[in-house]
Amino acid sequence: MNFVEKKVGDVLVVGVNLARATLQEAETFKQLLFNAIERGERKIVVDFSQCEFVDSTFLGALVVSLKRMTQAGGDIRLVGFRQAVRAMMELTRMHKVFDCYENVEDAVKSFE
């Protein structure tokens, strides 16, 4: 399973079980988030703690999903950046677009 969905209260936690999150899985990932938004999920946490590398296609899928989610009045929050992913998020200023937390626990709490 590349993506693991888990519900914590009313928050949907999506774990990305890929060392390299790239082009091949980005479309599936985008559809997964789109479907979740469609069925009414408004609080989503995406956990990247398994990912050494998240490519621009994958990040693009995230931004498009966030746009859709913002329109629906919800939020997608990100957790678990490894060093390279964190550096990329910081340098591209994506940290000003996504609300990021260190772990799932803090991110879930932030929705309260």
Binding site: S56, G60, F81, N103, D106, E112
Partner: protein, 588 residues
């Protein structure tokens, strides 16, 4: 005990210096303020530190990393919005196990932390604040105590005289305090939280600090902190010149009066004159005949010939007069400029890619020459006008920023792309054409079935053959085979100023990043769908690509999985783009 360092702030009063460096990274005797804070915390056996970051987080992150070099465990709280110092605590509930030490990243306090801790525990305090007595308090919170040092009140004062107690930027906090911080609302520790604690009558105490204390709020505070530390250093050591440099011109050495601090690999050339207290960082060049008095010159700066610098802070091409706090970015590289020389290894890598560009572009031109000749003839037969079209593409748009206390001007940098003409010469971009934009959000523009396109042009565009003459640009060195796709002036300027925006979603800071990168033919966006992608996806592709080209050594190491400057990455991006061109994905 764990410590939480607040390093997220924009440092508005420190602008324009804080445009370049976050407050905790401002140097004192050539070492970031943060280094002094970390050393201090380590002295009291603190092993785990979290740092809140928001403004230029990569500078703090690449200095501290995950803490291995410091023998510490360091993590980060990446803040999306700056909601206030107390709100920063609310974001990290899982970090709280026992009492937490909170340290403001723009302050330095040296006092007995163990004593502060016992003070806090003995009084069963839920919130303790280190305080100092201040004579002048600008923009700070004034604390009132009862006889037992219990905090009873606090007020914010923008100005005023007379002695008063102000927080020194160091606090001890219990987890239960989090319950009193509202979510999603800006809430500061100084004033908001302290007032709330007083209202609720919670046990909160103030601890008097008798030690070194300073807070860097304005540029002159940084200058004074440097002078103070140099004075302390010269009092402890007999040496009057603290120099790690071996490039000081012999003639001037005898005229320099101490104390003066010169970092490593810095160069003072002939007839340079140093007056008063001067601190010079690493890798600085001060050229012939220049006089510097009571100033601070930060790392990697070149200062031109025959200049006079007084009471100033200089950093690369930025000059701040500390008397009136006014800053200006100098665009003349002979006066001030960044002194960054790329390493031999980098130059060799650059050379390899330039050679690859030249060889591959030449082969391409030779192979495609008959086709290009045919295209040229077809264009001439099909419609009136020239064969080629010169399209201006922006490397960096014009930048003019005028703020209350600083000014910045940077001229536009552009190249002209050589393309086959695909449009009728008399047609212009009008509103009817604008409506055909495939992007639902600005500022990118690409029309499907653009009425201005000629018959031959339509085929050329579909097959991307109109771009073939760009190989000439590659040979000229205007752009590389691999890089970000250059934008025309209008799109570039709008993107720089407004980002990609709609009513409810905006990407501005992310969009600006593309202008840090090199232009090229093949790239992420070009190979992954081009105009089939949304404006947001395009922005992300371009920004990620710009960052993956970045030259900074430390960042390079951290961004390893993202690097495109390997021959493999270079070739695979070119192949991916060719594949995408053959499939005509998103080419209109």
């Amino acid at each position: 005990m764990k410590a939480f360092i607040l390093g997220a702030g924009l440092g508005k009063r420190l602008q324009p210096l804080s445009n370049e460096l976050p407050a905790p990274m401002l140097p004192i005797l050539n070492k970031p303020l943060l280094a002094y804070i970390i050393e201090y915390l380590k002295r009291y056996d603190i092993k785990e530190i979290k740092v809140s970051v928001h403004h230029l987080p990569e500078i703090i992150d690449s200095y501290l990393g995950d803490g291995e070099n410091f023998n510490l465990k360091i993590s980060y709280s990446l803040e999306k919005d700056l909601l206030g110092t107390a709100s920063a605590l609310k974001r990290i509930p899982s970090f709280f196990d026992d009492t937490i030490l909170v340290y403001f990243g723009n302050c330095f306090v040296d006092f007995d932390l163990n004593d502060f801790y016992y003070f806090h525990k003995n009084r069963k305090s839920v919130f303790s604040c280190a305080v100092v007595e201040s004579k002048s308090h600008q923009n700070s919170c004034e604390i009132r105590l009862n006889r037992n040092s219990r905090i009873v009140d606090c007020k914010f004062r923008s100005s005023g005289g007379g002695k008063s107690l102000i927080p020194a930027g160091v606090f001890l906090v219990e987890k239960e305090i989090l319950n009193h911080i509202p979510s999603n609302k800006s809430f500061s520790i100084e004033t908001d939280l302290i007032q709330k604690i007083c209202q609720l009558n919670l046990p909160a105490y103030a601890y008097f600090v008798k030690g070194e204390y300073f807070k860097i709020q304005f540029p002159k505070d940084l200058l004074n902190a440097n002078f103070r530390f140099l004075k302390l250093l010269s009092a402890h050591e007999e040496k009057l010149i603290f120099s790690y440099s071996n490039k000081i011109h012999r003639d001037i050495l005898k005229f320099i009066k101490a104390p003066i601090f010169i970092g490593s690999n810095s160069e003072l050339r002939k007839n340079v004159s140093i007056k008063g207290t001067v601190i010079i960082g690493d890798n600085v060049i001060i050229d012939e005949g220049t006089t510097i008095s009571n100033s601070l010159i930060l790392n990697d700066t070149y200062i031109g010939k025959n200049l006079e610098i007084v009471n100033s802070i200089i950093y690369k091409n930025l000059c701040i007069n500390t008397t009136n706090s006014f800053g200006i970015y100098v665009t003349d590289k002979f006066i001030l400029s960044p002194n960054i020389k790329s390493k031999i290894k980098d130059r060799i890598i650059q050379l390899i890619f330039r050679m690859l560009d030249l060889v591959l572009a030449s082969i391409g031109l030779i192979l495609f020459f008959p086709l290009m000749l045919l295209i040229a003839i077809l264009i001439k037969i099909d419609s009136k006008g020239p064969i080629f079209y010169r399209s201006k593409r922006i490397i960096h748009p014009l930048l003019i920023q005028k703020e209350k206390n600083w000014y910045r001007y940077e001229p536009e940098k552009a190249v002209f792309y050589l393309k086959f003409r695909t449009m009728k010469t008399e047609e212009i971009l009008n509103n009817n054409v604008r409506k055909l934009n495939v992007y639902d959000e600005g500022p990118y523009f690409k029309a499907k079935d653009d009425p201005r396109v000629t018959r031959v042009g339509k085929i050329l565009r579909r097959l991307s053959l109109d771009e073939l003459p760009l190989l000439i640009n590659v040979i000229k060195g205007d752009l590389s085979l691999v890089g970000i796709w250059g934008l025309p002036p209008q799109e570039a300027q709008a993107l720089y100023e407004h980002g990609v925006s709609s009513n409810f979603f905006r990407l501005k800071d992310v969009a600006q990043i593309r202008f840090k990168g090199k232009l090229g033919l093949a790239g992420y966006w070009q190979s992954r769908g081009r105009s089939e992608l949304s404006a947001e996806e395009r922005t992300i592709h371009d920004s990620v690509q710009a960052i993956s080209q970045i030259a900074d050594e430390k960042l390079k190491a951290r961004l390893k999985p993202y690097r495109t400057d390997s021959v493999k990455g270079y070739i695979s991006l070119i192949l991916d783009t060719i594949k995408s061109v053959i499939k005509s994905k998103g080419a209109y």
